[in-house]
């Protein structure tokens, strides 16, 4: 048997005999399973709730009585963001974003009722999910189990003995690493099995799941290497433990908190109020529908009259007010898109800067990869917002066209006692409007989005692996 | 208590001490007078370090009398310790403080505020080379550390000096230096008790040598004449009574 595997076996035996190590390991496994179970049932109840609300909202929409179409534009529709299957593993920003949206004409509402605003402050302590356990807690277990791997030999003088017997420092380090890597694999296993059980339904996203598995494996392997590296570099076990704890606190806890601060200071996001005012202002500049002499709307009127070959609005074969609504919605919607894109560009820049800290902290790189592959990152939310806006626009324009086609101009402008009834169109029209169906990202997109994170992680892994070589050389020469 | 006064400074009388069911000291009796150096010789497990613990008040005897300069260490450890300068086998001082700083700090802990000159004088007396006084202890040899410890003991001006295996790990020259130093301390009136298994060193400076075996003194020898001890005779006794046990 080679020296490497002998050393690894010896190290594993030592860990098995260390009661504290075994208990800590068992606790972590339990915690992982608990997290998986809790997260799964939590996500399922969220999914059920949202599906129920979605059904209720769609039903209510279709059950509306005969109405003037513009009333339906304001009655609007509620839509809910469904959760992807991988959200049970890593819910990402789900708790922090609103998950329901009210869609109506000429207004773009915010997504509301995120968990963070209806939970206690505890939500800010992090959420117990398999991703959290693997990202934050599992490295700590590896540190506890591995800090003494090399430092112990050095402290007790057994290192000199081994080197004297011809065991190379490289074999020693590789053996210890092998042992710790095996532990890391065991640590990650329950989460991965749970992950498969939760998300591995038929038609599941194999690609993203593979990327997630790969990413977490690389992350845990990285921590195993870091632990062995520090253990080999530091003279005493205690110093190795303290150094590793400090490193963990900085990389996993501190940097991920500092990075967002830097990002949000670097790229300021305009407030909704400012955006709303700016949109109103731009709209006003484009044209003032309240002003009968407004050049834009005068031009639109003339264009319309010319198109239909008539001279008076009243002679148009369609309801001019409906046409006007269509045109108005087109204008506002373009502005909404424009401002949403701008806001999103800022957020993307913020996130990009935040992700850049992945060079400093592998935890950030992993979080990026994990959320991106699970489709629970900012892009995932953005996907919902984009589809919501597209749906809103389509719904509103369908209703506006109904106003143009199904309500006569004369009725629409009448204000006599019976006018209200004459303006209404049949409720059957509401059924023609298709319900909102969220189209989740396909596997290829998710994988593509997670590539930068994976690249960073693999870069870390390679760098740490390469660092083993000089450290082994250093250890070979070490006197004590 | 003045250093020059004579009389019993260390007294152990019929001391029995056990750890749980395991008796360690079994009727140990010995005394050390002012100005006297007593070497307690014994093999592993004879009870040497337990004797030290009893004198320092770290272990409480089941029966018998222990007195350090008239104080019972078990009943009033602080009172007894006030009278004792203790130099452990491996002098452990603060590595990141200099010799001077160590002396000043540890003496301050003992409630003394010696002047800088006094510390210099004590270092001089122990033969610690000048260059080392302001160096951090990290690079000191065992002999140098012992000198710092003895200097601290000197500055405390206490009537009792306890030395735990002082010569282990010292080269012959450092041992000779150390012995001379201990000798000077005793001549000034301190009672010195050293536990050791270094027969030669004991023979070199002790006024009396006690052979400790299974928790009691099995034999005692006193220095006589120019030759002081018959080393060969001592060695025979040591081998027969102590080591053989």
């Amino acid at each position: 048997m080679s020296a490497v595997s002998l050393i690894a076996r010896d190290e594993l035996r030592l860990m098995r005999r260390n009661r504290v190590a075994v208990i800590a390991f068992a606790l972590l496994v339990l915690l992982t399973l608990a997290a998986a179970l809790i997260s799964w049932s939590h996500q399922r109840s969220i999914a059920e709730t949202r599906a129920r609300f979605q059904a209720q909202a769609s039903e209510a929409f279709e059950a509306q009585p005969d109405r003037h179409p513009h009333r339906m534009v304001h009655y609007g529709n509620f839509i809910f963001r469904p959760l992807g299957p991988l959200a049970a593993f890593d819910p990402g920003v789900d708790a922090f974003t609103g998950n329901s949206m009210f869609l109506e004409g000429h207004r773009q509402n915010s997504a509301n009722f995120g968990d963070v605003r209806q939970s206690s402050l505890l939500v800010r302590f992090g959420q117990l999910t398999p991703a959290f356990v693997l990202q934050v807690i599992a490295p700590l277990l590896l540190i506890f189990l591995g800090y003494g791997a090399v430092a112990r030999e050095r402290e007790r003088g057994t290192l000199r003995q081994m080197l004297a017997q011809g065991v190379s420092a490289r074999a020693l380090i590789l053996g210890k690493l092998l042992a710790l890597a095996l532990v890391a694999a065991l640590v990650g296993q329950p989460a991965m099995i749970a992950f498969l059980l939760i998300a591995g339904q038929p038609g599941a996203l194999a690609g993203p799941m593979l990327v997630i598995a790969l990413g977490y494996a690389a992350y845990l392997a990285l921590w195993a290497i870091i632990t062995i590296l520090v253990s080999a570099l530091v003279r005493r076990g205690r110093d190795a433990l303290l150094a590793l704890l400090a490193l963990w606190a900085v990389l996993v806890i501190l940097v991920p908190r500092v990075a967002p601060d830097v990002a949000s200071q670097a790229h300021a996001l305009p407030t909704r109020l400012e955006t709303d005012i700016a949109i109103a202002h731009d709209l006003h500049k484009l044209g003032d529908s309240h002003n009968p002499n407004d050049p834009f709307f005068t031009a639109f009127k003339e264009r319309t009259l010319r198109q239909y070959g008539v001279t008076r609005i009243e002679d148009l074969p369609v309801n001019y007010k409906g046409l006007l609504a269509v045109e108005g919605e087109k204008l506002t919607s373009r502005l909404f898109d424009d401002y949403a894109n701008r806001s999103f560009a800022v957020q993307r820049a913020q996130s990009g800067l935040n992700d850049g800290f992945g060079v400093v902290s592998p935890a950030i790189a992993l979080r990026r990869l994990s959320m991106a592959a699970a489709g629970t990152d900012l892009e995932g939310h953005r996907r919902f917002l984009t589809q919501a806006e597209a749906y809103r626009y389509d719904m509103v324009q369908r209703l506006n066209r109904l106003q143009a086609d199904a309500v006569s101009y004369a009725n629409d402008t009448a204000s006599d006692a019976g006018a209200d009834q004459r303006k209404r169109i049949s409720a059957g029209h509401w059924h023609e409007i298709p319900p909102f169906r969220f189209k989740s990202a396909d596997a290829a997109d998710l994988v593509k989005a997670s590539v930068p994170g994976l690249g960073l992680l693999l870069g870390w892994l390679i760098l740490a692996g390469l660092a083993l070589l000089p450290v082994a050389r250093h250890l070979q020469k070490a006197r004590s | 208590m003045s250093l020059t006064a004579t009389g019993q400074r260390i007294l152990l009388s019929d001391v029995n001490l056990s750890y749980g069911n395991h008796p360690v000291l079994r009727g140990l009796s010995l005394h050390v007078d002012a100005g006297e150096i007593y070497a307690l010789l014994g093999g592993n497990g004879a009870g040497k370090s337990t004797t030290m613990s009893a004198l320092l008040g770290f272990a409480r005897p089941d029966s018998g009398t222990v007195l350090v300069a008239g104080h019972d260490p078990a009943a009033a450890p602080d009172k007894a310790r006030e009278q004792i300068a203790y130099v452990p086998e491996n002098v452990a001082l603060y590595e990141h403080l200099t010799a001077r700083e160590n002396a000043a700090y540890l003496l301050a802990l003992a409630g003394r505020q010696p002047t800088g000159d006094a510390i210099d004088g004590a270092f001089e007396a122990t033969g610690l080379q000048n260059a080392a006084w302001d160096k951090r202890l990290g690079g000191f040899s065992k002999g140098m550390r012992q000198k710092v410890a003895i200097a601290i003991a000197l500055l405390r001006e206490v009537p009792v000096l306890l030395l735990d295996e002082p010569s282990s790990g010292l080269d012959p020259r450092a041992t000779a230096d150390f012995n001379r130093l201990v000798h000077d301390v005793a001549r000034k009136g301190a009672a010195v008790l050293m536990v050791t298994h270094d027969l030669l060193s004991a023979a070199d400076i002790a006024d009396r040598i006690g052979f400790l075996e299974s928790g009691r003194i099995v034999d005692e020898a006193s220095a006589q004449g120019e030759e002081r001890f018959d080393v060969r005779e001592l060695h025979r006794k040591f081998a027969r009574e102590v080591v053989a046990a």
Partner: protein
Amino acid sequence: MTLIAHELRLLLRSRMAALALLLVALLSCAAVVAGMAEIDRQRDVIARIQPKQAQDIASIAQWVDKEKDAGSAAYYSFHATWDTPAPLAFAALGLRDVAPYILRVRALGLEAQLYDGEAFNPELALPGRFDFAFVLVYLTPLFVIALFHDLVSGEREAARLRMLDALAGSGRHLWARRVGLRGGLLFLALALPLSIGAILSHVPVGQLLAVLGLVALYLAFWIGVTLLIGRMRWSSVANAATLAGLWLVLTLVLPTIAHVAINRVIPVGQGVEISLAQREAVNRAWDIPREDTMRAFYANHPEWKDSPPLTAAFHYKWYLAFHQVGDESVAKKVADYRNAIESRDAAAHAIGWLLPSVGVQSLLTRLADTDMQAQLAYQDRIRAFHKRLRNFYYGYLFTDKPFGKADFDKAPKFEG
């Protein structure tokens, strides 16, 4: 040289101790600076919106002035509200990064407006902010562990313990002195930057003292834990590992489990139910006789019932009335929703008695007025303001008083 001075030299000579203290001071400084920068930014934003808001109202006033319809004024005028950060907010940003601190409302149904969110990047909010509360709650225990885990065991391992004990007169005082010194320096490293920040932010003295007391208590808790573990006479490394494990459980694992438990035990009837119900109530008004709406409205607001009856033509007073009736129809749901959130919050506070990390965080955010209670209080202020807004416009609408340019200035002003 006094003993304390000796101990200080001894402590600061140790590279690790000096580094740890320096790091705490730096982190505390950085957190205070970052917190103050964020709060300054929020104050700037609040200041920045005022002229824009005035401009927006002015442009509405311009065209409303032509017809002088109070209804148009009410419909189109959004009024800004804002939640000015408390002086201490920099120390614990709390919910201020995820809950809006600016919200525009108009005199229509409030329940459809009150829960709107602010634009923020959820990815930046996810890990939590870097503020003093974070440094205190999460990082400080780690430094306590670094500085105290080998307090006695380190001396034992260096074989100095016996000698120290043998040096008469030291006794307990030695350890008390060392604990006091380390604890005191840690406290100073945390408290000095915080106090400077607090003075610059004009935090009332009493509040600053309360926070400093909290810092001292939290430090005392963790020092107590390290001393307790130290009494087990384990090795330094075993102490460090045990303490780090305890820290993990107390600040990371148990709070997350408590979060799940609370949200399970106290279900919050989804806030969206309010929105759905309110929308039904509001839109139904178009399909029922308008008199029904007015009757329901006058029943609760008899002060306007002498208003002239509705004609066939559209009148904004009806429009605003059905919005208000819509709001009132969901009052029970609103109360339930809020009660549930409050009980969740109360449960978290209760858990703070068991988990010091949670306790300190919740007390800090309470003192800083950045917690859930502060959010709800802001909502209450918005409600009160919205009520004044309604009454203001009703004063014109229900008496058919023309609403001119000058009247825009008479609108209630939100007081932040």
